[in-house]
């Protein structure tokens, strides 16, 4: 019996994008299978965040396609990409500072019924968020704000998560918790995760595969578990 091939959770094909006349991405192609974690590595200014913004629809794709589960979402508005099953955890302006923790979490879920049904799932990953539901998000510490960001993305139960430098500025213990949360999302709900990172050890400990982005092009790809990869990758990330 032939088993039909499973469409990639996220497929980026020949993506060209940028700001004004400056092209930042120059034909990027990536595929994430359902439940797969792929780390996109690179120094600052290489196009990592631009890649996520273009997938989300915040920046127009000048060329190339973005597909979710085989469905072409190129050119769709960000709210439609989100509704198609993508949760974006951006690097900056990540939470609503003047809303409570609970309100921030509610915004990640399409209905209040789903929010109530899923809230308990945070007990296993970020129980502190459950203790702070009524607290204004802007009063959380930096690490707690990252927890809130991840919690909101996890509650959305997306098909694909786009996670932008979640480890930045975090203590090692907190980085470990983020890694656990990402693994839990993958194992619990089969979420495919595109992880943009500069923290090599964290990225390789979580990801199945890696891709190195340099000047808007993917110059190297491989398996994250390959022991030879770490040394070569460290050279790519040197400033």
């Amino acid at each position: 019996m032939n088993v039909p091939p499973v469409a990639p959770a996220l497929e980026v094909e020949g993506l060209v994008s940028g700001y004004g006349g400056a092209m930042v991405l120059r034909g990027v192609s990536l595929r994430l299978a359902p439940g797969e974690i792929v780390a996109v590595l690179g120094k600052n200014g290489m196009g990592k965040s631009t890649l996520l913004k273009t997938v989300m629809g915040f920046l127009p794709a000048r060329e190339g396609r973005v597909r979710l589960g085989g469905e072409d979402v190129t050119g769709r508005a960000p709210h439609l990409v989100a509704r198609a099953g993508v949760a974006h955890a951006p690097q900056e302006f990540t939470i609503f500072q003047d809303l409570t923790v609970a309100e921030n979490l509610r915004l990640g879920v399409s209905s209040d019924a789903d929010y109530r049904a899923r809230l308990g799932a945070l007990e296993g990953v970020f129980p502190r968020m459950l203790e702070r539901l009524r607290q204004r998000a802007g009063t959380l510490s930096g690490g707690e704000q990252k927890m809130l960001l991840m919690s909101r993305a996890l509650l959305a139960r997306p098909r694909v998560m786009l996670v932008d430098e979640i480890s930045e500025g975090l203590q090692p213990t907190m980085i470990d918790r983020m890694a656990e949360a990402l693994r839990a999302a993958r194992e619990g709900h089969g979420v495919a995760i595109l992880l943009v990172e500069q923290h090599l050890a964290f990225a390789l400990s979580v990801a199945d595969r890696y891709a190195v982005l340099k000047l808007g092009e993917i110059i190297e790809e491989g398996a994250a578990g390959d022991p030879a990869a770490a040394g070569a990758l460290a050279d790519h990330l040197k400033v």
């Binding site: 915040f58 609503f96 003047d98 809303l99 209905s111």
Partner: protein, 278 residues
């Protein structure tokens, strides 16, 4: 003394209900809707049309609310939405829209002053005094509008989405919120509130094509002073509206008409945050 206190409170509440639509649109859309006065005028004429048609005057405000909401949705789609990326042009467009609406009303109904029937006439006993029944009704409606808007913003999903759009629109869109729909609904709501306010104040006044203009100026100054906050708008309406009543009663009604504008400008000169409660 009791009458004076009632005048101050009811004037404040009337000012609040008149300015509420302007504040709602400014808060979510960052747009100063200079057609607000024209929407008030449309509400006044809606009240007149409803009563002239032999329908109950009690239907005037709901009819104006519904008409204003529908017209607001249409105007947002056709005029405002194409100008979202050009906020100054959008403000100018609402100014022009106000002129067009006023001219259309003049063409349709003439320049002369007209009157709409009041749902309630006379006075109601209030303690040891009597007071205008309709002013009391409008005050009650204003309180209900304040409570309703607060509930809408803080107890509903639409309100949560609207607050998210106010705070950070790109982030809200990335979470699946259709900010375009939030903006359209908000403009419809603001226009509907303005029209309903026009219908509510009509029994206290006469109707003419420019009836909304002085209310637009006062509403604009009140919203500038209060910022985007329902309690702050209530406070600004009470303080500045109260001053207007006192100046009108004890100095001159003509000076009273200028009181809100002058005090608001002075207040903003002293404290740029005005009376904002946060």
């Amino acid at each position: 003394m009791t009458i004076l206190a009632l005048d101050i409170v009811t004037t404040a509440l009337i000012l609040f209900v008149v300015a509420a639509g302007l504040m709602v649109i400014l808060g979510v859309m960052k747009l100063i809707n200079f057609a607000h006065g024209a929407f008030l005028t449309v509400g006044g004429y809606t009240a007149m049309v409803v009563t002239d048609a032999g329908l109950s005057p009690w239907l005037a405000a709901p009819a104006a609310l519904a008409f204003g909401f529908g017209a607001g949705l249409l105007i947002e789609r056709v005029i405002v939405r194409p100008l979202y990326d050009r906020p100054l042009d959008a403000i100018l467009a609402t100014w022009g829209l106000g002129i067009v609406i006023t001219q259309l009303i003049t063409l349709g109904f003439g320049r002369e002053v007209q009157f709409a029937a009041s749902p309630m006439t006379g006075t109601l006993p209030l303690g040891d005094t009597e007071y205008s029944a309709w002013r009391l009704v409008v005050s009650g409606v204003a309180l209900a509008v304040g409570a309703g808007l607060t509930a809408l913003l803080y107890l509903t999903r639409f309100g949560l989405n609207a607050r998210a759009v106010i705070m950070n629109e790109p982030l809200a869109r990335g979470l699946g919120i259709d900010s375009g729909r939030v903006r359209a609904t908000t403009f419809g709501l603001g226009a509907g509130l303005a029209c309903a306010a026009g219908a509510l104040i009509t029994p206290l006044l006469s109707v003419d094509p420019n009836m909304g203009l002085p209310w637009l100026v006062n509403s604009f100054m009140l919203v500038l002073v209060s910022g985007v906050s329902i309690p702050s708008l209530m406070l600004a309406s009470l303080l500045l509206g109260g001053a207007q009543v006192l100046v009108s009663s004890f100095v001159s009604p003509i000076l009273g008409g200028m009181t809100i504008v002058v005090l608001a400008a002075a207040l903003l000169r002293i404290n740029p945050k005005g009376l904002s409660l946060g």
